[in-house]
Symmetry: C2
Subunit: 187 residues, 2 copies
């Protein structure tokens, strides 16, 4: 069986692979995640995931898995917030509205890179400024696209419904990934 090299610092992605019963080895490298302005918001996660994939040499004994998650609201991309003020602004934007979360993942196998993506609709209820300020202060969501974790307080009290994959919002569309790995006969 081929090894899985996970090229992601995200503790959520690491946790999800473990819950899927897939052992992995981490493969880390800093990659410049800037993307060109002309991209359609729905292409951005795939673009960044591929940039990450291209940053690694293929591994002879396994596949490399990279991923990227973005939040899209009113055709605008929200990445990770720079600081508390930025996180507040992002959550203020999400409050009372539906947004989309797109996660793309790439699988590097031999010299080939394949990229897949999934999108989930997330419906937020209206949040008060005090709720947002308290959440940012207590949870410091600076490593999360859109400044929230669906598995944290914010996700539990503010999300009225989702349409699509839950783990996709956490950062990895696990059902799709599993199907792809099965198709590639890695599982």
């Amino acid at each position: 069986m081929l090894k899985i090299y996970l090229a992601s610092k995200s503790p959520r992605r690491q946790e999800l692979l473990t819950l899927m019963g897939l052992p992995y080895q981490l493969l880390l490298k800093d990659v410049d995640e800037t993307y060109p302005d002309y991209l359609n918001p729905f292409e951005v996660a795939s673009y960044i995931s591929e940039i990450k994939a291209k940053a690694f040499n293929p591994q002879p004994d396994g596949i490399i898995l990279t991923a990227d998650t973005v939040v899209i609201i009113e055709n605008e991309i929200l990445g990770k917030p720079k600081d508390a003020k930025h996180a507040f602004e992002m959550l203020k934007k999400l409050s009372g509205k539906m947004h989309l979360v797109t996660t793309a993942f790439s699988v590097v196998h031999k010299a080939q890179i394949k990229t897949y993506s999934d999108t989930t609709e997330v419906y937020f209820k209206h949040l008060s400024d005090v709720q947002i300020i308290n959440y940012v202060e207590n949870f410091k969501p600076f490593d999360k696209a859109g400044a929230y974790g669906i598995q944290e307080w914010m996700g539990l009290v503010a999300i009225q419904k989702i349409v699509g994959s839950y783990t996709n919002v956490m950062g990895l569309p696990t059902e799709k990934l599993y199907a792809v790995l099965q198709e590639m006969e890695i599982l």
Copy 2:
């Protein structure tokens, strides 16, 4: 502030309350959960949650929270499986189809009982017999309605999408509960 007495043995409900930042005390009692045949499947969770609520004396210093979760497929209720064979049959039924998960919760405040419920659509992909057998053997889902946990292997690899609340499928519609407790001025 009123205390919250949680009358549920479910470790998922206990975990969700904790993630919501709500301290609670457990209040446990065995309650007969049988329900009359004439009930509409969508009324069953509310009926059982209310039976549980009526089994306790109101607490002067707080509210009591009870809940019940059922899986509904093709107008049939799936509760907790009796044994491995029963769990296999349930998952075989869910395989490749959409089912509904309804969780009802009741809040006992002074002499008043109020019950609310939420329903989520869950779309399962097709599962092989081997996958079902392995899951039942490894995860022993005997304490779970419909014989699976959405937060476990089965939920990660088999659920293609949901429409509604994710925590509702886990056993407690957290966003709705939070809104109800705010309305009752308990938070």
